[in-house]
Point group: C2
Chain length 183, copies 2
């Protein structure tokens, strides 16, 4: 794969904007090397995220359902969340699995990370695989959550993705590391 | 897959916020049905997006490299962009492929869509497959773009995803429809 790289855009100025709860908004002034013209671009500074492909000893996937405010609908996803300051993404993965689902697991494998949206977000989402996960704790949702937990076979999960019932981009990037998602 | 659905959160109030170029910010006040407590949540109202898995007659994938302002780095992605008001996502796919890469294609297949991020964004990204794509036009970048175009075999693309060189979540969800991405 040999594709010439365009030049980085020189940063001329960076102005903080209003805090938006989960983001810090920043406006950068950059020069387009192709045209020489300076342009403002919006950046949402976001902590890294983590999500977890958790499989029970029977190879059932642990899923959470919750009302999502962006789309105003209940969605089906894998557990995940924001990495706390100073926390490793592995520790955040274990914490989110336990808090959101009550499951804990003895075997953890890193599945890599993706850029959430490099056009305007600064962050990555790290994907972890947890195997032999068992229900061992009560769930511990934060005040902004109302979750239901369940499991499904990987065949059911693949079919739900094909039907669009599991549709969160970052859930699909995580699952693509362990499932062939071609229809 | 039988997972109980939590209740929708009643919307108590919705306030428009500042325009942020590519988003309209909205703050919703919703009641958590579990706790009864009303909470503010931020929503970024975003038009739907589209991206294109374009394959040449030799089954090479058409790729674009550009400097991305969120991560301040040059990334490798498939072509795509925002669907214009009143435009179909199929028409947007053809337009973005032609404008960003100069390629056009006679065969188009819909690959489905994903939710960009249902936690705080309203929109979907539609994925299209374009086959027998050929370079037929000069590229026509908008003033905010500085692109380089190239091609790679699907084996190279799969390896680049495994190495993290292709890392945009929405590029990976599109490619997962035609490539087995398990390592």
């Amino acid at each position: 794969m040999q594709i010439e790289s365009p030049d980085p855009w020189p940063l001329l100025e960076s102005r903080p904007g209003p805090g938006l709860v989960i983001f810090r908004v920043r406006t950068d002034l950059l020069r387009n090397p192709r045209t020489g013209v300076a342009m403002e671009r919006l950046v949402l500074e976001t902590p890294d995220w983590v999500n977890v492909v958790a499989l029970t000893p029977e190879r059932q996937l642990v899923l959470v359902r919750q009302f999502r405010f962006g789309v105003s609908e209940v969605t089906t996803e894998i557990p995940g969340g924001v990495i706390d300051p100073g926390e490793s993404h592995r520790a955040a993965a274990e914490r989110e699995l336990r808090e959101e689902t009550g499951y804990t697991a003895p075997r953890w494998t890193y599945l890599g990370s993706v850029l959430s949206n490099p056009a305007f977000q600064t962050n990555r989402c790290h994907h972890w695989l947890a195997e032999d996960a068992v229900l061992s704790h009560p769930i511990d949702p934060d005040p902004g959550e109302d979750l239901r937990v369940g499991t499904a076979s990987l065949d059911e999960v693949k079919a739900a993705i094909a039907r669009g019932e599991i549709a969160h981009s970052l859930v699909i990037t995580a699952l693509s590391r362990i499932l062939d998602l071609r229809s």
